[in-house]
Amino acid sequence: MTEVVRLSNVHKRFGDNHVLKGIDLSIRKGEIVAIIGQSGSGKSTALRCMDHLEIIDEGEITVCGHTFGKGISSADLKKLRQDVGIVFQSYNLFPHLTAEQNITLAPRSVRKLPAAQARKIAADVLAQVGLSDKAGCYPEQLSGGQQQRVAIARSLAMDPQLMLFDEVTSALDPQLTGEVLRVIEKLAAGGMTMVLVTHEMAFAMKVAHRVIFMHEGRIHEQGGAEILRNPQTAELRQFVSNGL
């Protein structure tokens, strides 16, 4: 049982707003964790802290063997970013590059792979997300769901040990949501360690090994998917009854 993520007493403030009030969390290799909670509960912030996109005020984080608190050495940060893939709600594809170029950019620039090898990787990951025929398309020629799948492929191209998903289906209609969730399910079946911040309760129940309910900057309740059917705390009960 290898630990991929460990958060110890993590605090984060935005000015006077105390967003994370001491998060302790451990995620082992191959585990799929869904983080749910209301807007403002700190779930996206917690996720972003794991990739050092938000700098924590207190506590310690270890991700893929890289430990950091407030600061991190640039060498460690570089390795962290290579070991962790993150996908955002707004896709954030580079609009001036084709799907393939979006994917090959990091392997070529960061891992310094030759063009042919990077293109081979792009072909592989595009096939994984079912978009082999879209390699030459620019982002604006793709639907939201296709853009999000390219964004997932772009992260996979760096061969990450951990994938973070930050409300990746929130901007999509139900049909497009379905095609993105199927890609994530496939990754799950492949044994990828994943943390998903999501509003898709049914999906969280289906793929997650563990569900974490955040409330007011703390982990309020956690457990297997059954906690969504049988919540122990009043807050989760209310959250679930609103969501279903």
Binding site: D51, L53, K78, R81, Q82, V84, G85, I86, F88, S90, N92, L93, F94, P95, H96, L105, A106, S109, V110, Y138, E140, Q141, R154, S155, M158
Partner: protein
Amino acid sequence: MNQEQALYLLAGAWGTVLLSALTFACSALLGLAIALMRVSGSRAVRSTAFGYINVIQGTPLLVIMGICFYGPSIFGAAETSPLFAAVLALTVHAAAFLGEIWRGCIESVPRNQWEAAECLGLNRIQRMFKVILPQAFKIAVPPTVGFMVQIVKNTSFASLVIGFAELSYNAKILNNSTFKPFLYFGAAAVLYFLICYPLSWFSLRLERKLTIARS
């Protein structure tokens, strides 16, 4: 207007084109450096660029022109050539404006593009040159071309201080000896238009090309 006078006017137009082209090239390099300095991570570098922009934008071009032409001889340097002094002055002036225009373009690329590039492990220079600048370039085309047209017209300052023979200067000389201001300044206006219009046309084409490339 006889042939000799027409050729004299055209020679002036050539002076304007030459001065403009050299200024475009030099101020693009300096302007890009200023823009990159303005978005640098280092406070000292940002402040330096900010100071430069403020001082230059607050100084009349005529004064910069005078300093560039007469300045070197004050310090005992050999006489400055009018072309060199004019290009130097226009570059110093234009770079301050281009730097600020391009900083705005760089900053108007959405923040999440920086973030996405960062998460892929690209370092700061790679993020800037492979992700941000190509997107900023497209945004920058219209204001940059607009400013280039301004530069073309600003080259006429070179004749006022330095006596560089460009279009306005030669039109004035012809008027002084013939007293036909409407003819010569009118002809100069047409030539200015013929220099500037292709720039605007090229800008439109470039914008269209950058858009069509992805649809």
